[in-house]
Amino acid sequence: MSFEVARGDVFALLGPNGAGKTTTIEILEGFLKRDSGDVRVLGVDPGVHANQRWLRSRVGVVLQELAVESFFTVRQVLERNAGFYPEPRAVDEVIELVGLRDKADVKVKKLSGGQQRRLDIGLGIVGNPLLLFLDEPTTGLDPAARRMTWELIRTLSQQGTTVMLSSHYMDEVEALACHVVVLSKGRIAASGTPSSLGGRDLGKVAISFSIPPGISVTDLPVAPSGCQGQRIEISTDCELEVLSRLTSWALVKDIQLVGLSVTRQTLEDVYLGLTRESLASSDGPRS
């Protein structure tokens, strides 16, 4: 497995459960020792004990299932952790950023699951990190809190924080990441930008619409590749030409193409294809 991340990027690590996402993150932040290979985080080796204190004061980590002292208030926990860092972010600023202003003086045990997750993220950024690891940061959040977390990640990225994200939500990855790596069985199955992953930008485009009343399939100006009930599907590499022929035909005949949609393979389709492929073969593709 080999990858590099540039400063200020949002980098996404994807893969099914057990593919090695958390292990990779734990090696990068120095919690686990790697068996072999070369790792540099912020220019230093996280496996070297002497680097760890330096690294931990510049790297924020939000893992899954981390506990927080439930008897402390949100502010107490953040102030405690802020004290560990040489250049911490102001605690009030963190509380504001993660949207817990109303809950600042509430005990952690009184927070909802989503609020606790936001506190986790707050603890990840209180040290003002150059690099932030987020392991499934929005799992369990309601849609509004998810969007707020996205905004937060964008803000941090704009301020120059490098973000390394793992997620099961493809819309999240598409909205945030500039670079994606798909892991499968501890190897890289594919990597690229979200829009080009696995040749997604070059793949076929699916055009579909409901067949107009009184029109038979054979009347259409282009041959459909599939038909589901009233729904016509055309899969093509030359979507412009097909669309042009279809729409000019419809305009001339004054026919409505109800529910016309043009879609590329979604990131999820690509992801499922990649991970299914490598699940089937015993040795996943290397990259």
Partner: protein, 268 residues
């Protein structure tokens, strides 16, 4: 693999002293926030002393030079106070924090291992010393038990006791795999040893029970704490033999604790 961000050229890091003081403050906060737990830890030794003193405090113990039961109980419960704070309370505290993932979370911050351990040690010592002071005052003013004849020896025993039993607490916590058993296992082991070591009733040095409990550090700490209280001339306030055995246990425990200390829960 590599996550490249050009490092900022800075050499700032939080000063070690500030870091430890900061963490000690939150260790103390965590202890005192749980008022029932705090009262239980500190109050237990006081409660025992008051109860036993009220029951048979003025009886004398012939084979211990005719000292009264109160004279016997005050040093005994001072030793108990040290052991309950540094051993039972600490063990449960560490196991619960480790198994619920609280230690792992701290591991992700720049707080170094030694700073966390030192902070826990200082915080535990504060609780132990608080108990010692309360017990001394109750003994002196409630039961007319004189203060230690030799303060230096007394302070030395307290420091040795706190250090050794903290190491033992750390060692035991490293072999207990889950938080459900931590409380029962430590309490039972601790109370059996206390009982056999003669905390509640004096043991004759020649008895089989005394010989058995001489193997363990509990009885030796009881004896070592009592020595500076001895008012008879000719009896040394420095119980070197007992202190030596307590320290030996402490050193072995410290080695075990350092080798086996872990941050992450066993379930992972």
């Amino acid at each position: 693999m590599s996550v490249i961000t050009p490092p900022r050229k800075d050499h700032t890091r939080t000063s070690d002293l500030r870091l430890v003081l900061h963490q000690v403050r939150y260790e103390q906060k965590a202890f005192w926030i749980n008022k029932v737990g705090a009262l239980f830890t500190i109050g237990f030794s006081v409660l025992f002393l008051v109860m036993l003193g009220a029951t048979n405090g003025k009886q004398t113990i012939s084979y211990l030079g005719n000292i009264t039961n109160d004279d016997y109980y005050v040093p005994g419960f001072i030793a108990y106070g040290i052991m309950s704070a540094c051993f039972s309370m600490l063990t449960v505290n560490i196991v619960v924090r480790r198994e619920t993932g609280l230690l792992k979370r701290l591991r992700l911050t720049p707080l170094p291992t030694w700073a966390l351990l030192v902070s826990i040690f200082i915080s535990t010592a504060i609780v132990a010393v608080a108990q010692v002071v309360v017990l001394l005052l109750i003994g002196r003013f409630g039961y007319a038990v004189p203060f230690p004849r030799e303060w230096l020896a007394f302070l030395f025993v307290i420091v040795v006791g706190i250090a050794s039993f903290t190491a033992m607490g750390m060692a035991i916590s490293s072999v207990i795999p889950n938080q459900e058993t931590a409380g029962p296992v430590t309490s039972v082991a601790f109370f059996v040893l206390l009982f056999l070591s003669g905390l509640w009733f004096p043991l004759q040095a020649s008895s089989g029970l005394a010989k058995f409990s001489n193997f363990f550090p509990v009885r030796h700490l009881l004896l070592a704490v009592r020595a500076p209280f001895e008012q008879q001339p000719g009896v040394s306030p420095w119980a070197w033999h007992d202190l030596g055995i307590v320290v030996a246990w402490g050193i072995v425990a410290a080695v075990v604790a350092m080798r086996r200390f872990r941050w992450s829960p066993h379930r992972n």
